[in-house]
């Protein structure tokens, strides 16, 4: 149960608030939150925003280092194939690729792609809270996805052939509304992914 240490306990505190507030929350015309800090596009909040568990202050974990290495290895393989294609092409007489342009150009592109792959792998982070799963990814479009556990329809743990060698696995969560997975965490160890699946399923069964 090591992963439970990431749980944000403040959920419990706010659930108590919810119980107290539920009577007055039935009245739509209740006066707006008296707290001056509340933005005016918020009315009738059931809890004050500062009492909410804040996802922006979460402590997150990175992907396994093997996952980062794998992403970089893929990048290298990609560019190795491109390099071979270019070399073969020039030997066949496609001498448009002058070596003094093609070689530094290729090296530069390969280096950029390598850096990008590394960044894309390291920027992925996840966290498990008591009631939801958090995942962030994306170099240029940075997205933070949060999937409440009581909306999860099914869970999938998957392993590709190369993942298997490295002991990696990914976890996919599906909710209603779209056919695609709402959240996919790659770069987990298999045991970790299976633990998470058990945790999520247990949560769903208890609620």
């Amino acid at each position: 149960m090591a992963f439970l240490c990431k749980i944000n306990n403040s959920i419990d505190d706010t659930s108590i608030n919810e119980a107290e507030d539920s009577d007055q929350s039935d009245d739509l015309n209740a006066k707006p939150n008296a707290d001056g800090a509340t933005p005016s596009a918020f009315t009738n909040l059931k809890v004050a925003p500062q009492d909410l568990p804040q996802a922006s202050t979460l402590e997150t974990s990175a992907m396994q280092s093997a996952y980062v290495s794998l992403a970089m290895a893929f990048s290298l393989i990609r560019w190795f194939i491109v390099a071979i294609a270019v070399i073969c092409g020039s030997e066949l007489g496609f001498d448009r690729f002058y070596p003094w342009i093609a070689v530094p150009g290729l090296l530069l592109l390969a280096a950029l792609d390598l850096l990008f792959s590394r960044r894309a792998a390291t920027v992925k982070r996840y966290a498990i809270r008591e009631h939801d799963v958090y995942f962030e990814s994306g170099v240029f479009w940075h997205a933070q996805t949060i999937q409440p556990l009581n909306r999860v329809q099914h869970v999938e743990v998957g392993q590709g052939p190369i993942d298997k060698r490295l002991g990696l696995a990914h976890l996919q969560l599906f909710s209603s509304g779209s056919g695609a997975a709402s959240l996919k965490i790659p770069g987990l160890t298999l045991t970790r992914a299976e633990d998470l699946r058990e945790f999520i399923l247990r949560h769903r069964d208890t609620t």
Binding site: A41, L45, K46, V47, Q54, H131, P148, S175
Partner: protein, 499 residues
């Protein structure tokens, strides 16, 4: 399992299978064009008649076989269907997964006083069951079983509604639509597909492309030929445009009347019931608790006429095709106060116009206008560089100005507000759209940021419910985060179901 439990449909259901086959055939009309072409090439009348007869017989035999192999069974908690000739298929639809039930009375079954019971599932595969040609007694029996099972199984879902109107089980009249409303609806919406769906499908795109094609032609013609015949060509293109618009609009109005004739919406404390349809009388029952969003849909023409279409959305699987339209309950051409009253039947919310909305950053407008300016400039330059088109090089400018104005209105409209458990998103350029969702029905949240947005402390917020994803770009980051945290709290701590 003993076979006695499996029941057969009435023989009349063959009519349904024939109709279904023809519908599928026409829906795939484009694949059949070579065949149709081949038939027109047949010179001998006898061969033509023979082919016609043979295919008619083939269709009937196919339908009879489908009927022969169709078995259904209604247990205490599920409907089971076995069908298929080569590929046996068994569908097992549990009552708890049923989304809505509708009773169809197509014109060919109406004289026989038979109905088709249609059951949609909320499951992730989007399966549905059609029990054709049931007599009223059997249909009512199955329908009652589903209804009582659902109410017995999930009383907590309806907690709010029963609280709102204690002991109110009687059917309450909510709204009906007269012919005039349907004509308006047909005018403002491209409902041509319904008219064509009566005889087939798919044509709406065709009609649309035709319209835009003529549109393009009208501009091109006047552009390409700068000589004496230009006025004539413009007149021709213009009349072609007008004609095609008249045809499409006519089809659209006809479609609207076909689908919504005799529209009547009634409701109990937990349920909405719609009766509509000209050729096929349709009675659709929808549980209020399954409504995921209430969408005030107003296009520019709706705005001119002071109308809007109210849509109650249910779980969808990203299928915007109209075959899926039973998952959305449309109330055509209502006024704003009417839309409000109807929405209040399902979601307890105030008047969306009365709220203060959190707007989006002006940087969204700047970004969009810059993109527009760059595109326009390059287009103007490109036209300028081609000698034959030089005279037209300023043509894109008024269009760009118009688009820019629309962008401005779009930016000004875009906003979100939170009231208790409700989130309302406002959007649209000329017409105003409001989308009302309940936060406890949230499925997933997303916060998206580019590098430039992070520097300006902006974030795009995406709230996903089972029917759609609401995206509000370029919100102040603090606000977006608060909405996300608050929405998640509602979804996780309220303990209320989303179905």
């Amino acid at each position: 399992m003993s076979n006695e439990l499996w029941r057969r449909l009435l023989g009349w259901s063959v009519l349904y299978f024939i109709a279904r086959f023809l519908r599928q055939l026409i829906a795939n009309i484009f694949a059949l064009i070579p065949a149709v072409y081949g038939i027109t090439r047949i010179e001998s009348l006898q061969i033509g008649v023979a082919i016609g007869l043979a295919s008619t017989i083939a269709v009937v035999v196919y339908a009879v076989i489908q009927y022969t192999y169709f078995r259904y069974q209604v247990t205490d908690d599920a409907i089971l269907v076995r069908e298929g000739i080569l590929f046996r298929k068994q569908t097992n639809l549990g009552f708890e997964r049923i989304q809505n039930v509708s009773l169809d009375r197509p014109f060919y079954l109406r004289p026989l006083k038979l109905v088709t019971l249609k059951v949609d599932s909320a499951g992730s595969s989007g399966e549905e069951i059609n029990l054709a040609a049931l007599n009223e007694v059997e249909a009512t029996r199955i329908h009652d079983m589903i209804r009582t099972a659902r109410q017995g199984a999930a009383p907590s879902i309806h907690e709010e509604e029963t609280h709102a109107s204690k002991g109110d089980v009687s059917e309450k009249f909510l709204i009906d639509r007269e012919l005039g409303h349907l004509v308006l609806h047909g005018l403002t919406n491209n409902r041509a597909w319904i008219a064509l769906a009566a005889i087939g499908a798919v044509f709406s795109q065709f009609a649309d492309t035709l319209r835009s094609y003529v549109d393009v032609l009208g501009i091109d013609f006047s552009a390409m030929l700068v000589d004496a015949t230009i006025s004539m060509l413009i007149a021709m293109a213009f009349s072609a445009l007008v004609l095609s618009i008249i045809i499409v609009t006519g089809l659209s109005i006809a479609g609207s009347i076909f689908a919504y004739y005799g529209y009547e919406l009634t409701g109990t404390a937990t349920r909405l019931t719609v009766r509509r349809g000209l050729l096929t009388h349709r009675t659709i029952h929808m549980n209020k608790s399954r409504v995921q969003a209430s969408y005030y849909h107003q296009d520019w023409l709706d705005r001119v006429l002071g109308r809007l279409n109210l849509v109650f959305e249910q779980v969808s699987h990203q299928t915007n095709n109209e075959a899926d339209s039973d998952r959305r309950l449309i109330v055509p051409s209502v006024t704003f106060p009417e839309a409000n009253n109807l929405t209040k039947e399902v979601i307890r919310v105030g008047n969306p116009e009365d709220y203060h909305y959190q707007g989006v950053s002006i940087r969204l407008l700047i970004r969009n206008l810059c993109t527009l300016a760059i595109a326009t400039t390059s287009l103007v330059l490109a036209l300028h560089l081609i000698p034959e088109l030089d005279a037209l090089s300023l043509l894109p400018v008024p269009f760009a100005l118009w688009l820019g104005l629309l962008q401005y209105y779009r930016w000004k409209r875009l906003g979100i507000t939170i009231d208790g458990n409700i989130a309302i998103v406002r959007k649209g350029s000329i017409g105003v759209h409001y989308i009302v969702i309940e936060l406890h029905k949230l499925q997933t949240t997303n916060l998206i940021q580019t590098f430039l947005m992070r520097r300006r402390q902006l974030s795009s917020l995406a709230l996903t419910v089972a029917s759609r994803t609401l995206v509000v770009p370029f919100l102040p980051q603090g606000y977006a985060e608060t909405v996300r945290d608050y929405g998640l709290y509602q979804a996780e701590a309220s303990g209320r179901s989303w179905m």
